[in-house]
Amino acid sequence: MAAQKAGELYQLLQTAVDGEIQHVGWMPNSETYGMNNRPSSNGHPSNGSNGNGNGNHRAAASAPNNGDRWNMTDGQRGLVLRVINENNLDKNEVEGMAQQLFGVGVKELDKMQASQLIEELLEKVGKKPRGQRRWSRQPTRT
């Protein structure tokens, strides 16, 4: 009996240990750990790939197409979708445009490619591309 009880207890212990081993908790990303926020010579973090545009976070620039993950910034993604929706553009046509111009799909465009695509979309729908806009020199008042 004692041997059987000991065997049961050992099995219970083994199961618990196995469970803890399988649940490893937080681990750093082996590809990016230690690469971001390195201090530069002036003490500031360096301007590496963790920068973002329009105050929005962005997925890793080199990440492959992964489901609903977009490489461009959230702001760029919002603008692309807004231009498509407001002008009733065909999403497949826009996807084809990205493939033709950049050789990748819309979700895979990096920040610069996304900016170029937005310029093309704005031109397509008859809006002045952002690159041609100038700071409005409106006179000031006190």
Partner: protein, 273 residues
């Protein structure tokens, strides 16, 4: 300093504080360069919004730039333009003064137009860029949020990115000195490097300044600049910090010097006290 200017616009014009706040949120190479060159000039141009007639040189530069953009855009879309199509683009660009009339002297316009077209022909001939080469990006607006450095958002438009190199077009009346031109354009090239690195998540291969020189026989001078160094980035960030602080303190004192001879705000400056 008195800054009140009546605005005929229906919408209320922004106050000086509002304009300065906007200028502090987004920094471009032209704004930063203007501020560093002369704070009073910056004030007249960007805070008060004073406008001046477009100069002949600016109009030539704008038209040439517009045609080179069309040429690069066509290459990017793998539909290169013929010389005849480029000439049509130039004629169209020349007529477009962007709502800012140019003050021409007697017979000046025809001469300047001929010069502009010769500059484009020279570029197409001497740049050795094949019409079949596809650029990475053309006239692309980019921005980078530098809040992690305690700095504002950086904005800019890159003329051309090709084979990992940032290329910027310039027109000039004289042949540029290679060493001096790299230093004189360091603020702009460093800003472009920061923008490129954030947008592409990698370092630029290099930077090139393509000067189209308006000599009797126009020529193209290409200045190759290595990738931005850490020291240059640090210098840039210090300059942006100085810009933000200067605007905070409303520090818009003039910088009298040789450059004032060609300043469009010379008369306004003389009245400043």
């Amino acid at each position: 300093m008195s800054t009140a200017i009546a605005s005929p616009a229906e919408a209320p014009a922004p106050t000086v504080s509002e304009v300065i706040s906007h200028l502090q949120k987004k920094v471009s190479a032209s704004r930063l360069n203007a501020f560093l060159q002369c704070r009073l000039k910056f004030f007249f141009r960007y805070v008060q919004g004073l406008t001046k007639p477009k100069t002949a040189a600016l109009h030539v530069g704008t038209a040439v730039h517009s045609v080179l953009k069309a040429w690069n855009k066509a290459r990017w879309k793998t539909q290169p333009l013929s010389l005849r199509q480029l000439h049509n683009e130039f004629t169209k660009a020349w007529k477009d003064t962007e709502g800012e009339p140019v003050e021409w002297a007697e017979g000046e316009e025809a001469d300047e137009q001929a010069t502009g077209w010769r500059l484009i022909e020279t570029y197409i001939r001497e740049s050795n860029i094949s019409p079949d080469t596809k650029p990475d990006a053309v006239e692309v607006p980019v921005e980078t949020d530098l809040h992690q450095h305690g700095l504002p958002t950086l904005i800019g438009v890159l003329d051309l990115v090709q084979a990992g190199k940032i290329i910027d077009y310039k027109t000039a009346g004289q042949t540029p000195n290679t060493e001096r031109v790299a230093h004189a354009n360091e603020v702009q090239t460093s800003i472009y490097a920061v923008l490129y690195r954030d947008a592409k998540a990698k370092r630029e291969i290099g930077i090139e300044l393509h000067h189209l020189v308006k000599t009797r026989n126009p020529k193209l001078v290409i200045t190759e600049i290595p990738p931005m160094s850490d020291q240059q980035q640090t210098r840039l960030f210090h300059l942006i910090e100085s810009y933000i602080n200067g605007l905070d303190m409303r520090d818009f004192v003039p910088s009298p010097g040789l450059q004032c001879v060609s300043c469009e705000f010379f008369n306004e400056c003389r009245r400043w006290a």
